[in-house]
Amino acid sequence: MALIITEEQKMLRDSAAELLKVKAPVSEMRALRDAGYKNYSNNLWDEMTALGWTALTVPESYNGLNFGFVGLGQILEQTGRNLSKSPLISSILLGASALRLSDNEKLKTSYFPGVINGSTLLTLAIQEGKYHQVTSFKTKATLKGENYILNGSKSMVIDGTSASHFIVVAKTDKEINLFLVDALSKGVSISKNVLMDAGTYADVNFDNVSVNTNNKLNLNQDGRIMLEKLMAIAYSGLSAELLGICQQAFDMTIQYLKERSQFGVIIGTYQALQHRAAGLFSEIELCKSIVLKALQAVDENEPNILYYAHLAKAKLGKTAKIVTNEAIQMHGGIGVTDDADIGFYLKRARVAQQLFGDYNYHLDQLSLIKGY
């Protein structure tokens, strides 16, 4: 399969770029922050829903568009470029994908409509403590009659304060299971964390929360395998966002190098800066390839999707750090002021590279997969 995007995917990318540039540019993100760290604007979410972005990865049998993850990746790249805030990551990349991977037909039929029309806001509760992990966690689900009783604490739940439902990863004895839990359930307590990207995340505690057995996402499939696929989607999608962040921070920096004068010359004429810029350009070229490959692997349901997803998140995590650090340095004094937008890219990059595992985590996984 050719490593390029199709005409339809290109059109989606271009229309996303146009919309977000007008409706959700960085200034909008700044306004949301200044309004008390609001997570997103309802108007934008309505617009995204009307455009079908919430249905993009939903199968046709549930009235979705089944357009694929390369398509969703094009949008996430543009949200990265504009730092546009929306529940696309929590509810669509993570939530809708968990539903998609589920074999619980009843659950899919009852929840996909709300996900598509934007009224149901899903998010994933997986991490415990301060590091990303997939299979070693404590949250427990104990079967009691018709219900599972959930006990445990999850952290870094994206949009956890505004979500209507959590997809909770929990263990029954040794098996890994995923449950769909109403945020208003008795025993759920949510505490808010504002992070450096001005986003709100939640620590969610489950204290004897009762969940009907019908709300288990993996009925006749191994939850561990389902979770691995979901993680591959999460890593690839976040990598697409990071790619957008890298490209925009880089473009802004190149523009600055062409405008700023010191010692009577444009600073972009200095070879010391040119060579660093050309090096960053090269790293971003690599990033484009692996993000597309990882997303294509998800769409093609390739056996090694997790491998490509680790490659993507490792490379993008590393590059996003380098690019945004250099972007600040090359902007000089203005780069460290709150007035300049470039700082927002540094801060969002820090969060996105840490979410679902940073460069070190994914690099380690890559070595383990290859057996060294």
């Binding site: 050719a2 040119q274 050309a278 070229e285 690599l286 692996i290 057996g371």
Partner: protein, 394 residues
């Protein structure tokens, strides 16, 4: 799609039937490769057989037009052939700067008569070509070259010297950049000529490198007579050909179109470094360095694929060859550095013994040239800055 699948199946079967086993093994010594030429000698019967089979099949240069003796394959078919050759580890039947460098320049700039004359000879391996670009005082600043071609009516008289001419001492002909206008600015007085190395006044001297024996030479021209019909393209416009050719050279050095499969660094590491109880490399520092390297190596390969795919739809910039050259050579240098670390003190062995063939230390030394030859990494970064990023020059 169906046709391509059939082509792949047939290609695989044909290669399996016709490529001798010994031609599927990596070469120990680059001098063992077949380069053709007037005084060509095959190193083995298998080598001869393999070349003749490929020649008969028209696959020595599978993607050139059939009228010049090429195979006339489409880019898709040629990709498949390259992939299948890589899969089986088949060596190229003929190593030739005629194929990789002069040929593309002739196809773009030569007259029909010149193409019909030179291209079939390249395919048949009759002429061993070398390249005369750099001069002792013109390295990174190639366009400042001073080898003179004086107009003597029906011929040029050429005087000067070239350096880094690979295999000049074995070559039959040289394609050469010479100065034909001494008044013009440095880029506008250069011409591209073909010179028979057997001409009176041509001499060569081999260059020994820090890695030992090398194919590089110095080449001297002392009043060499070159017929005017050996000029390619327009007089004084040779710099355009030079730039075009450098693009090809940079892609080649960057590793595009390579068919040899290189052993993964982590496999070498597992065979050499201490392993812990979990079967993993005990030293976490080198483990993460290897992992980072293999991450970049794998993604660089994907990037070659992506940009090749994009260029089929017409979305490509020639300046990207500078990115390939820069990144590909830096990766190889990093690879040699890591291999040196994984092999410990055995890596230092210079003369072959029972512990080592002394290859690694030499390859490490040789890799130092990768970021210099074909335009230094710094020159490539200059080109990226100027032509891709549009950064201003003073």
């Amino acid at each position: 799609m169906k046709e391509l699948t059939d082509f792949r199946i047939q290609t695989r079967a044909w290669l399996e039937a016709n490529c001798p086993e010994s031609m599927r093994q990596p070469v120990k010594d680059p001098f063992d490769l077949y380069w053709g030429g007037r005084s060509a000698t095959f190193k083995s019967e298998d080598q001869k057989k393999w070349f003749n089979k490929m020649l008969e099949k028209k696959w020595v240069v599978p993607y050139w037009e059939t009228k010049y003796g090429g195979g006339g394959l489409t880019p898709e078919e040629n990709n498949i052939l390259t992939q299948e050759m890589t899969r089986l580890g088949c060596r190229k039947p003929l190593y030739s700067f005629g194929i990789s460098m002069l040929g593309p320049a002739l196809l773009k700039f030569a007259t029909e008569e010149q193409k019909a004359h030179y291209l079939p000879q390249i395919i048949e391996g009759k002429i061993w070509w070398c390249q005369g670009y750099s001069e002792p005082n013109s390295g990174s600043d190639l366009a400042s070259l001073q080898t003179k071609a004086i107009d003597k009516g029906d011929h040029f008289e050429i005087t000067g010297s070239k350096v880094w001419t690979s295999y000049a001492d074995k070559s039959d002909w040289i394609f050469c950049l010479v100065r034909t206008d001494f008044e013009a600015t440095k880029h506008t007085g250069i011409s591209f000529v073909l010179i028979d190395m057997a001409s009176k006044g041509v001499s060569t001297r081999p260059i020994k490198l820090i890695s030992g024996k090398s194919p590089f030479c110095e080449t001297f021209f002392d009043g060499v007579k070159v017929p005017k019909e050996n000029l390619i393209g327009t007089l004084n416009e040779g710099w355009n050909i030079a730039k075009f050719l450098l693009t090809h050279e940079r892609q080649m050095i960057g590793g595009i179109g390579e068919t040899d499969v290189r052993k993964k660094v982590h496999k070498v590491a597992l065979e050499n470094l201490p392993i812990n109880a979990q079967g993993l490399i005990n030293d976490g520092v080198i483990r993460s360095q290897i992992s980072n390297f293999e991450m970049d190596e794998e993604i660089f390969d994907l990037t070659i694929q992506r940009i090749t795919d994009e260029s089929k739809t017409g979305n490509n910039s020639g300046a990207l060859s500078s990115f390939f050259k820069f990144y590909g050579t830096e990766l190889n240098i990093a690879r040699q550095e890591l291999l040196m670390s994984t092999r410990g003190t055995d890596a230092l062995i210079w003369e072959e013994n029972e512990k080592s063939d002394g290859d690694l230390a030499r390859k490490f030394c040789r890799s130092k040239g990768n970021s210099i030859e074909g335009g230094t990494s710094e020159i490539q970064l200059n080109i990226i800055s100027k032509l891709i990023l549009g950064l201003p020059t003073k």
